[in-house]
């Protein structure tokens, strides 16, 4: 990471305490940088104001691309590029194209979505993201503020009043 950030973060022991803490932060208009959890916590997204993921739209587009690639590809090959008569059937035998068209739809949608997922998240082989705390992937639920977005005192009193078990500062 080229740009270093100073953060102050609190660790919670339970996702329910975390959810309530985020509610308190919303009421107090605190600017949360991010929330880190060991597993997906349901109900967190609307509290953080995260809009619904558009990944499925991307998936549809990739899938449609796969459908077209397969169907138009086979059509071009069997009617224009190299027409061969198989068993006296028409060159453009649509029902026989369905299975491959379906498979390529699924294949394009899956690969496209997975690649998009890693690209938009900034994740991938060789990516090293700073570790805020080793236990965030274990049993701690973390709310992090950027240090310039909140005063140290405010952050500490917020974490204390919402039941955080630990509060730390760190440069990441």
């Amino acid at each position: 990471m080229a740009d270093h950030k100073d953060i102050i973060f609190g660790l919670y022991d339970d996702e329910e305490i975390l959810l309530d803490a985020v509610k308190v932060a919303n009421i107090k208009h605190l600017d949360i940088m991010d929330v880190y959890t060991p597993f997906p916590v349901h109900g967190l997204d609307p509290l953080l104001g995260l809009s619904e993921s558009r990944l499925h739209i991307a998936g549809f587009v990739y899938g449609a691309l796969g459908t077209l690639t397969a169907f138009l590809g086979m059509t071009w090959i069997f009617t224009k590029d190299w027409p061969i008569v198989y068993g006296g059937k028409p060159h453009w035998s649509v029902p026989a194209f369905i299975p491959i068209t379906f498979e390529l739809t699924v294949l394009f949608a899956s690969i496209g979505m997975v690649v998009t997922f890693y690209v938009v998240n900034g994740l991938g082989p060789g990516v090293v993201n700073p570790t805020i705390d080793n236990r965030i992937t274990d049993d701690k639920f973390c709310i992090a503020f950027e240090s310039n977005a909140i005063s140290k005192g405010d952050a500490e009193s917020f974490f204390k009043s919402t039941g955080a078990s630990e509060v730390h500062s760190k440069t990441i």
Binding site: E16, T37, A109, P125, V127
Partner: protein, 638 residues
């Protein structure tokens, strides 16, 4: 938690796990040196794999002539094994995709290993058609790519080519789905590791952070992948069945093949999942995560799909007769009473009859029996494919070209070798990756953990409303290695199960004694634990006394919690003036025996020797210890 917990469904995570304990249990096997069982298994697998590789090289060097295929029987063990492995590969995606769409929580315990199994099984399957092509080095001819042969394209009308697309798509999508699920768990492994190991797992985890937005996208991705993998998994075996169904061979060209093959694939896949999971569960001590509830659910799937397969077998016979088509009739007659009658009998017995015992709950929950039946089904499903392929081909239209077929050592060697490949890969996987999906198990803990659901659950109310007010009670738990210790200190002293305490901050938990009168929640015994400290143990005991006397109206109901005491004995004891755990714990064994002997009814088989000890634990609220004790007891006897 806002999530719904069911009183009826049994817990899917046992042992009062905390989030940290789940991490410990599931990452642990990748951090320890392998045990003896693993080492022996790995040596055996690699040895068989080596023999398989030798047989493959033999085949490539000398050609397909080393197999016993002949002019009549062009598909033998090779395609039988191919379809068998592909079928096994169906359970993984079924569990991870279809059960995700149906929101079946039990998938979390087995999906990771089942998906791994899928990927390895498809790899084994893919070998057979490739080898059968003869010239392995020209295998890329099956893919459409601009080439210097014209360009000459493959025949897109051929089911064999559809198979190429279906199986390569299936393999790719399964791999992506599996790996995306593994990424957060690799991050968990990474964050516990140091040095080179940490670097390797950081590479594998793609730099996962656990950010809320990432999780949101991760769930969206999983859901859509599940949505498209569901028709995919159904399409794959449908297309495999087209290899047969679009032909003009009697016994093959039946329209029932696609659904029948898909049901058979799920059937054999679940059998293999059970075989593998029961071994894994034992070797890696995952009994708390792969519970009897999981095993029972899978046995139900086996029962349903096995029965569908049975109906399909019978339908085929009926249609052969009903069609009045002599060649079709002969094909089925030949299968049942021809030279390969034993494989037809094996198929019917293993696939249709043997799973029927799973109509009985007792058998569905019997681990040894389940393991045995799962192997029987694996064998039976292999017979099915052999019946369909070799038996049918052996006697075609012309009696002069009838033939018989038995495999050579090369064919047997390749099949055994794929088994070696499968287990080698699976054993390696169990060393480097958590075999149970850590994040997913954590996400169902609050709705399916045994401290929250099922008979031993602890009711907790009114979460989250007021903890902000208890800031001064917050305990700074800064010691990394001491997870949950503060909560335990406050609660175990008060005689509550220690397991529940570890999850919850002491000031937050509000709990009652386990609900002994099934169905009715007693609030009378509810304890606001934030008011407790260890010095209040006495008052806590008084409270539980009060509960035992007043909280439960059903006379003596609670005594049935004691192993060895049923409703009858409970009545007898009540009549003798023993109606609470406290009274029972203070009673003498001889006195109890006396009560039993002098009462009406035959209680000769019941021994009260352990009752006072059990009652003492129940009275003190040590439900965990009681449960442990009852595990060791046999009908209440030591």
């Amino acid at each position: 938690m806002s999530s719904y917990t069911s009183d009826i469904r049994e817990p899917l995570v046992n042992g009062h796990k905390t989030y940290h304990q789940i991490t410990e249990d599931l990452v642990g096997p990748t951090e320890r040196a392998p045990g003896l069982g693993w080492t022996i298994g790995f040596i055996l697998s690699v040895t068989t794999l080596a023999f398989g590789v030798f047989c493959i090289i033999w085949t490539i060097w000398h050609g397909i002539g080393t197999w016993n295929l002949n002019r009549t029987i062009g598909w033998g063990w090779d395609i039988t094994n191919f379809v068998w492995w592909i079928g096994i590969g169906h359970a993984g995606t079924l569990i991870s995709a279809i059960l995700l769409l149906f929101r079946q929580k039990w998938r979390t315990g087995v999906n990771r290993a089942a998906e791994a199994m899928t990927i390895f099984a498809v790899m084994c399957a893919g070998l057979f058609p490739l080898l059968h092509m003869g010239r392995l080095w020209q295998a890329m001819f099956i893919f459409p790519y601009p080439n210097t042969r014209g360009p000459l394209w493959p025949n897109f009308n051929s089911p064999l080519l559809w198979d190429v697309f279906a199986i390569s798509t299936y393999f790719t999508v399964s791999l992506l789905f599996w790996y995306t699920g593994l990424v957060p768990d690799f991050a968990t492994v990474r964050d516990r590791a140091k040095g080179l190991r940490r670097k390797i797992y950081n590479f594998l985890s793609f730099g996962w952070t656990g950010s809320a937005k990432h999780w949101q996208r991760w769930e969206a991705l999983s859901l859509v992948l599940a949505g498209i993998a569901t028709p995919l998994v159904l399409s794959v075996h449908t297309i495999v069945s087209f290899d047969f169904a679009t032909s003009v061979i009697p016994g093959w060209h039946t329209t029932i093949f696609p659904p029948y093959f898909v049901a058979g694939a799920i059937f054999s896949g679940f059998a293999m999942v059970l075989t593998l999971m029961l071994i894994t569960r034992k070797l890696l001590h995952l009994e708390d995560y792969i519970t009897l509830a999981h095993i029972e659910s899978m046995n139900k799937v086996i029962l349903v799909t096995g029965t569908i397969v049975g109906v399909a077998y019978l339908t085929e016979l009926f249609i052969a007769w009903y069609s009045s088509y002599v060649y079709e009739q002969f094909a089925f007659f030949n299968r049942a009473v021809g030279p390969y009658w034993w494989s037809y009998f094996g198929m019917m017995f293993c696939n249709v009859i043997s799973p029927q015992i799973f109509w009985f709950k007792k058998f569905r929950r019997n681990i040894a029996l389940t393991f045995f039946i799962s192997i029987v089904i694996n064998i039976g499903m292999w017979f099915e494919r052999f019946v369909i392929i070799a038996t049918t081909l052996a006697r075609d239209y012309l009696p002069s070209s009838w033939s018989l077929y038995s495999p050579t050592w090369v064919e047997i060697g390749i099949f055994v070798g794929t088994g070696g490949l499968f287990f080698t890969l699976y054993l390696l996987f169990s060393r480097v990756a958590p075999v149970v999906a850590i994040a997913e198990v954590k996400s169902i803990l609050k709705s399916a953990g045994d401290q929250y659901t099922g008979p031993n659950k602890v009711h907790h109310h009114g979460h989250g409303k007021d903890h902000g007010l208890h800031a001064d009670h917050s305990v700074s738990n800064v010691d990394d290695g001491n997870h949950g210790a503060m909560a335990t200190a406050g609660l175990t002293g008060a005689g509550l199960g220690s397991g529940i305490a570890q999850d919850y901050k002491a000031e937050k938990i509000s709990t009652s004694q386990p609900d002994l009168n099934t169905g009715s929640v007693t609030n009378s015994g509810e304890v606001e634990s934030n008011k407790q400290d260890p010095s209040e143990v006495d008052s806590q005991e008084n409270k539980s006394d009060k509960e035992n006397k007043g909280g439960f109206t059903g006379k003596g109901d609670q005594l049935k919690k004691i192993e060895g005491i049923g409703p009858k004995i409970s009545e007898v004891l009540n009549a003798a003036g023993i109606s609470t755990f406290k009274q029972l714990s203070e009673a003498k064994v001889e006195d109890l025996q006396n009560i039993l002997d002098t009462s009406e009814g035959n209680f000769g088989g019941n021994s009260p020797e352990s009752w006072p000890e059990q009652a003492r634990l129940a009275h003190l609220g040590k439900w965990d210890e009681l449960k442990d004790l009852q595990h060791r007891l046999d009908g209440g006897k030591y």
